[in-house]
């Protein structure tokens, strides 16, 4: 990317391949004419150190990526008010400035143009001193950031209200605040040939297995893509079973969730610019766990968890079972009910399967329409959906009333397990088609197929159903039930290979 250039007498010297030249004029020339040519956001602030030996310097920074007051106050002012001793030569100048003059907290030295290019985009100031082949980099990050707010996608009644924002540094600090142990480690990587997005791998040194960390790092390093704009890119590029619709990498907007997962021996990946952290390995049970389960009383938490499992069954299976019953096995429905259902369906001209698919589609259209619309218009959608399509469709005998109940119940139950909601639509549709073909047994074949799919999946070497297919009581403690904290003595077997002990001594309780 850099080339030798022909020069005539009096012009800047030819540029060494990538090395910063001692001549300030040469440096400025190459920066302005080659590396940052046509880039008008890069600011060059020339100044001189004070008498008796004034020396030409330049402060370079990317506009709006730095705190301007900070640069003026702690970089420019001290530099302009002090002088550099005459006897200093070459690199000594930079070191003298960093050690004796500059008042910023971070300062490092770089010797290559390409490093200047990389660093400036991170929001720093770069000082070039005439006669010195080393540039001083001072931290001054100061771009616009969103405040730490409650994440809209995962709100809680009980629990911390902090959510991740788009800033990687802030996000890591939010996790670190919860795990202030020296064992909490962070590894940084850069992904994306154009975006050079910073990606951080978070784990606990004494709990997480190193093979897992290495594997995550290896997969991320293997990514070769031009840009990473959200953690979703990384998620899709490194996950197992990419053709399965079930997620094999978890995502969350909450630092407390990340801390909890890391404590169980998982690895978390944070991506600069994305408020969604990734956690891996991800097992199916995690879709049914919520952070509030662990903050509330264990009995109510267990109840809520059961409700989630039931809801998932309801949202995926109800239409299929309904179709199977009314089309193939009416003898299985209680007599009174079968009479009222057939009375309701008497005037409807379509078979059940058409009704289910049409109404399901209507529901999905309303939902998709509501998601991306501005709030005030969104309400109009729900009015149209509820009154026009629901009530009017029944009175016009386009669909039967029981079908509205089935579709409504299905739709509402889907929101109880948000991480599997999109997927539930696909499961529901395939089960409905099978039930329409072979009745209850078609439905069963569909369930068998999905269970086979789930049994065959793995996430980072851990079977996807791990905690569900075990018979070891300790491993079952956090699946369908959430046992009290004082009984969760060990960490999950499949994740925390190094240190399984979670509670010490009197099983964590003091009042017994």
């Amino acid at each position: 990317m850099f080339f030798w250039k022909h020069t005539k007498k009096g012009e800047p010297q030819p540029r060494g391949l990538d090395d910063i030249s001692p001549s300030l004029r040469t440096n400025l020339h190459w920066l302005k004419e080659d590396i940052f040519v046509h880039d008008q956001t890069i600011a060059y602030r020339g100044f001189k150190t004070s008498d008796p030996h004034p020396r030409e310097c330049v402060l370079i920074y990317a506009d709006n990526m730095v705190k301007h007051e900070y640069l003026s106050q702690f970089v420019l002012r001290p530099m302009m008010r002090s002088s550099l001793p005459k006897h200093l030569r070459g690199e000594e100048l930079a070191h003298y400035a960093a050690e004796r003059i500059l008042e910023s907290d971070g300062a490092e030295f770089i010797t290559r143009y390409s490093e200047i290019g990389d660093k400036l985009m991170d929001g720093v100031g770069v000082i070039l001193i005439d006669g010195c082949p080393v540039a001083v980099v001072v931290d001054a990050q100061g771009w616009a950031k969103r405040a730490v707010t409650e994440p809209p996608s995962e709100s809680v009644v009980r629990g911390p209200r902090q959510g991740f924002s788009e800033d990687l540094g802030v996000n890591i600090s939010l996790v670190r605040l919860r795990l202030s142990s020296p064992n909490f480690k962070t590894r940084f990587l850069h992904v994306g040939t154009q975006s050079k997005t910073r990606v951080a791998i978070l784990y606990l040194d004494n709990v997480t297995s190193m093979e897992l960390v290495e594997e995550v790092e290896r997969r991320i390093k293997a990514i070769d893509i031009d840009a990473v704009l959200d953690s979703g890119y990384i998620q899709e590029l490194i996950q197992d079973s990419p053709y399965s619709p079930f997620p094999t990498i978890g995502q969350t907007e909450r630092p407390d969730v990340v801390a909890a997962k890391v404590l169980e021996g998982r690895v978390a990946v944070l991506v600069d610019g994305s408020p969604f952290a990734l956690t891996m390995p991800y097992l199916l049970v995690e879709a049914f766990q919520a952070n509030e389960d662990y903050y509330n009383h264990w009995i109510t938490a267990t109840f809520h968890r059961l409700v989630r499992y039931i809801s998932f069954f309801v949202t995926t299976a109800t239409p299929a079972i309904y179709i199977a019953l009314i089309s193939y096995h009416p003898q299985l429905i209680p007599t009174n009910l079968v009479i009222s259902i057939s009375a309701a369906r008497k005037n409807v001209p379509f078979p059940g399967i058409v009704e289910v698919i049409a109404m399901g589609l209507v529901f999905e259209i309303l939902r998709e329409g509501g998601v991306r619309l501005p709030r005030p218009i969104g309400q109009a959608i729900s009015i149209v959906g509820a009154i026009v399509l629901g009530d009017a469709a029944v009175s016009a005998s386009l669909v039967s009333a029981p079908m509205i109940i089935v579709v409504g119940l299905t739709g509402v139950a889907g929101f109880v397990v948000p991480s599997l909601n999109d997927l539930a639509v696909l499961i529901r549709l395939s089960l409905v088609l099978l039930a329409a073909a072979l009745g209850l047994y078609g439905f069963v074949f569909g369930v068998i197929a999905f269970l086979l799919l789930l049994s065959s999946m793995e996430s980072f070497g851990v079977p996807y159903l791990s905690t569900m297919t075990t018979l070891v009581p300790q491993d079952l403690k956090d699946t369908v039930v959430r046992v009290p904290w004082w009984q969760m003595v060990l960490r999950p077997r499949y994740l925390a290979s190094k240190d399984r002990q979670r509670l010490q001594g009197q099983a964590g309780r003091t009042d017994r």
Binding site: Y328, H329, Q331, L332, P334, L438, G439, L440, Y441, G442, V444, F445, V447, I448, A449, L451, L452, L454, S455, S456, P463, L465, M468, T469, T470, L471, V472
Partner: protein
Amino acid sequence: MKELVPDHQGMILVLMFIVGNTLVFPLGGLAGPDIWLAFLTATVLALPIILAMARVRSLMQGSTFFVGFERVLGKWPSRILAFLYGGFAWRLACYVVSDVSNFIQTVALPTTPPVVIATFLALLMLWAAKEGVEVLARFAVMVGKVVLAVLAIIFVLLLSQVDLGEFQPVLYNGFKPVLRGAFQILDFPFLETVVLFWVFDCFGRRVSPYKVFLPGFLAASLVLLIMVSTSLAVVGADRYALYYYPVWTAVGRINVSTFLTRLEAIVGVTFAIGSFVKMAVALLAASRCFAYAFGFSDYRFVVTPLAMGVIAGSRWFITTVLEVDQSAVETHSPDEIMFQVVIPLVVWAFAELKAKNGKANGSSQAGGGEEV
């Protein structure tokens, strides 16, 4: 590729394999009211064979299945045996598929041709067999929990209808019917377990085969004993053997305050899921055996043709529910005695001899080696 199944998952796989497609049939109907005695007798008689299988697998510990098997019997005998058992397992898969497809046709979908159902089943088991025994074992645990829970609930609900008088008088016709019933149960389903011998590639520890086969078999025997005796006590000893599906009929009688009724559909669903485990295991065993018999290291490419064959085979061996009933009630045919009793015992004897020789020579050739 080494496939290792954790002990508890293997155990559930054995349990589901035996319980799977047996649930609804009139097992041991020949024993009449002494059915529970027939079950106990069959359990005792089957134990030596189950233990012999576990022992042989335990002696092979440290090598994958076919490598160990070749060490015991030599190359050609083991290939011939594998071929024969491949056929046996494939036929078993056909039987199970036709059991299920005929059952579904009889109780639920009278106008749907069974071959349609068999095709669905064959596609599913093809997939399962390709995924391998590890995935199958996980699947078995997932469905096993549901199946066992359903059976437990049904048992409790049936209790109010149980008439213990149906079991009396004990041994009214002497011990002969008990033995005939016991042999019936041995043949189907207890000793069909020999198919499982070929399915597990390797085990975690030396005691693992015992931990897989023994508790799995005993638990299955207990579950079947409870379900079968309960349904016999509900429908009556004289009618038990006459019904095609006595458990189905018994469960149909459950009526809790006119709300919990018509539960037989749940039995049907449970039966279909349980049978699926069995047919997938049988197809997997058949594929592994045939692939080995013809000298291929990976079995996966044989699965598809064999599964397609099962669709035809399920209509070939058995065409109607009448024949299903006959095959379940019929006692030993000579080939079954061969496959289920004689050959396993002979293999065991060879394995013991080999292990003894290996020890005497001071080598761990027969996979005997050091005791763990």
